[in-house]
């Protein structure tokens, strides 16, 4: 079989394009949408906490969280439609159990510390989510560890040094950061 250098280059370009398209369509298709969805929820929720009365902001958070939960479930089902594991592994189940346990630990920590104000409650949620994020990063892809650590530092700086603009900081930098990361994965991954 004879293949000229230009034909070889063309074939390699075809392979690279197809691999990139597949990774984007199959492997990362859900990740970026989920990041954008939760980034928008954080942005709206924290801006609400900063500018709306306490009761209205709490109600807004509840509506946003329920909407986010429903959207995540729908996206999760759609994500798994095209690709399946022929040999089921236990890692997926263990990851789900890990997040479920982390959720209950977070509730337990809040209950033990009760009463807490809005900022403390937000910090509990942020710290538990970022602990989970860093743990997943260490286990699955080391690069995402830095994003989790950066989010933790940002939250701690906002909580202790900039309490007056804590919510707005978390909304714009935290929520905006997730939206930006989502679009980065979508267009550059």
């Amino acid at each position: 079989m004879n293949v000229s250098p230009s034909e070889a280059e063309e074939a390699l370009a075809t392979i690279q394009t197809m691999m990139k398209k597949t990774r984007r369509a199959i492997s990362s298709s859900g990740a970026y949408v989920l990041l954008i969805v939760w980034g928008v929820i954080w942005l709206l929720g924290f801006l609400g906490s900063q500018f709306l009365p306490k009761e209205t902001a709490s109600f807004a958070w509840m509506v946003l969280d329920i909407t986010g939960g429903i959207l995540s479930a729908v996206l999760g089902i759609r994500m798994n439609r095209g690709v399946r594991r022929s040999a089921p592994t236990t890692s997926g189940k263990r990851i789900a159990i890990f997040w479920l346990l982390l959720f209950f630990y977070c509730i337990a920590a809040v209950a033990v510390s009760w009463p807490v104000d809005g900022k403390q409650l937000a910090m509990y949620i942020i710290l538990f989510v970022t602990v989970g994020w860093v743990a997943m990063g260490l286990l699955l892809s080391f690069t995402s560890v830095w994003w989790g650590l950066a989010m933790t530092v940002l939250a701690l700086v906002g909580y202790f040094l900039l309490p007056d603009i804590f919510y707005i900081l978390m909304g714009i930098l935290g929520g905006g950061g997730m939206i930006a990361l989502g679009f980065y994965i979508r267009y550059k991954w």
């Binding site: 293949v3 390699l12 392979i15 398209k21 597949t22 199959i26 399946r84 594991r85």
Partner: protein, 97 residues
């Protein structure tokens, strides 16, 4: 030295293999999902999949999901090996230019 593979080198089959080797070793992709990804017709994809299956480079798994028949496709270990060799052969052609 790595060798070119005539079966894989055909453009559609090359794109099929590139898509399948991107998946994890225990993952398989739905036929219609693969068809949309490659932007080919059912018949065209089916014909190329048969050639790759006959060569032992892919495995076709027909199952029922919620009482509906569905076809899943995955690259075999032999298919992955041959694909890597084909890529290495293409790269060596460019280097020797």
């Amino acid at each position: 030295m790595a060798e070119l593979n005539e079966t894989i080198h055909q453009t559609v089959r090359l794109r099929i293999m590139a898509a399948l080797v991107t998946l994890g070793p225990s993952e398989e992709v739905d036929f219609s999902y693969l068809r949309d990804l490659l932007e080919v017709t059912d018949g065209n994809l089916g014909a190329h999949l048969r050639k790759l299956e006959e060569a032992g480079y892919i495995a076709v798994n027909k199952i029922f999901v919620e009482r509906k028949p569905r076809t899943f496709v995955a690259a075999t270990a032999a298919g992955r090996k041959v694909f890597q060799e084909h890529v290495a052969a293409l790269e060596s052609i460019i280097k020797s230019k």
